[in-house]
């Protein structure tokens, strides 16, 4: 009985926190929608381009994550919210497509490439790290944000972990198949790596002391710390660079240039920073960082 009650309480509390975050962000997004996610009118693009097709159709299909607080998280109404979602809205706006005309599709780490290749989505904005293997099969616009791998420990940092070198001899948790897990395997083999399928199980194991640390991109860890600020803390010493890009079909250079132009425009006129402030920034409480330079490779 004691087990069930404690679990129910934890789950309930987590639910409240999540609901709190998302509804808050939702209200803010609504209020800000008028002056930020601007919908261009009378858009015109060269015939035959992807932009012309999408503008003509008046809708776009966007793949994003549904489980990433601050970037792409499904709210109770069934609509995703977060920084990735706002980036997609800015792009749709430049194509003359209103936010409500966007078709959202959940993409998880393993299905992003096939979804782009098979045309199930037009673009993917889903904490999608740009790397060379992925560039073989899809194209990337951006980066529009640079995350970094960081470490989360129990509150008070009892093991005194300051960086990845301190993980030697400790047990560290991450998600199977993720880039951060592979990084630990390749570069910090003295650490014992435990891999679950979702980060919430890592958080459970950190809470009950089975692992001493959890490692992945700082933005994901921030969401976990926000869910249990008494139990966890972030080391705050990112040791990799994970440039998040917008995934699109391989070889569509015109579309890629257009996306890069839209990003640069959003950097300049402040819509990028505003999108950050009301999503991921609202969770971390930090101001929008300097936007990264887009890479027109």
């Amino acid at each position: 009985m004691r087990i069930t009650t404690r679990y129910a309480a934890t789950l309930g509390a987590l639910g409240l926190v999540l609901a709190g975050c998302s509804s808050e962000a939702g209200q803010q997004a609504e209020g800000a929608a008028e002056n930020t996610a601007e919908v261009a009118e009378d858009v015109e693009f060269p015939a035959g381009t992807t932009m012309a097709e999408l503008a003509e159709a008046g809708s776009i299909t966007v793949g994003t994550k549904y489980d990433q607080p601050g970037f792409g998280l499904l709210n109770p109404d069934g609509v995703p919210e977060g920084f990735d979602v706002e980036i997609a809205k800015i792009i749709a706006g430049e194509l003359g497509i209103a936010p409500e005309e966007i078709t959202w599709t959940e993409t998880v780490s393993a299905n992003r490439e096939p979804f782009i290749q098979n045309g199930q989505v037009d673009i993917v904005v889903a904490t999608y790290t740009i790397n060379d293997t992925r560039k073989q099969v899809v194209d990337f616009a951006g980066p529009y944000y640079v995350a970094g791998q960081d470490i989360m420990v129990a509150a008070g940092n009892p093991e005194g972990i300051q960086g990845p070198e301190d993980l030697a001899g400790k047990t560290v948790c991450s998600v199977e198949g993720s880039t951060p897990a592979q990084n630990i395997r390749d570069n910090f083999p003295e650490a014992t790596l435990v891999t679950y399928d979702v980060y919430s199980k890592c958080a459970d194991d950190l809470a009950n002391g089975n692992v001493q640390a959890v490692t992945t991109d700082n933005v994901i860890l921030t969401g976990l710390v926000a869910g249990n600020p008494e139990g966890f803390e972030l080391v705050g010493n990112p040791f990799t660079e994970e440039p998040y890009g917008i995934g699109l079909p391989l070889g569509d250079t015109e579309f890629r240039n257009f996306l890069n132009d839209v990003l640069e425009e959003a950097y300049e006129d402040g819509t990028w920073a505003a999108a950050w402030d009301r999503t991921a920034g609202a969770i971390t409480g930090e101001e929008a960082p300097e936007p990264p330079a887009v890479d027109r490779y």
């Binding site: 490439e113 293997t133 992925r134 073989q136 099969v137 198949g177 679950y196 399928d197 199980k201």
Partner: protein
Amino acid sequence: MQFLSDNSDLLWSAFLTTLSLAVTSGLCALVLGTVLVGMRVSPVPPLRGLATFYVEVFRNTPLTVVFFFLFFGLVYVDLQFPTRFVTAVAALSLYTAAFVCEALRSGINAVPPGQAEAARALGLDFGQSLRTIVLPQAFRTVVPPLGNVWIALAKNTSIAAGFAVTDLTAALQRLANVNADQLLAVFAAVVLGYLAITLPSAWLIRLIENRVAIVR
């Protein structure tokens, strides 16, 4: 091909993990299931009730929930298995034992009542007649359903991938994300790994079935 040989170490150790998960859990479940069925048909009401309760609880709980409880629930009562592999074996065995018990019970029901009565007339007690007369005949009848349970177990081991055990499914997750351009090769390798366990099993089960069939 190059890609698969580059990752052959991981795939091979993942295959061995899946195989040892299945075999170890299968043996534990067989022993536990046999004990349970003995309790279920025993003349002692509390034992019968306990075994029935066990079967209904584990047969009707999703395996993922059993895993979750053993991994994250037991610590609240200060219990812990030595390693995550052992925890996974425990979850798979506890769950599968319920199905083994039910398969065996159907076999016991198929043994003509005259067999047990004759054993009793010869002066065997309940335990002796179960061990030497009833169960040996029951096992012969339930080879096909036990085979089903075994193959289901071999595939159920994939749930361990979500709980920090690097089996074939975990290898699939790991390789698929890092090698976006080799998805089909990864899938093919992993499916072959499972087939290498289940197809020979199906063949072996048919062989045993023919060997031990009771001609009535």
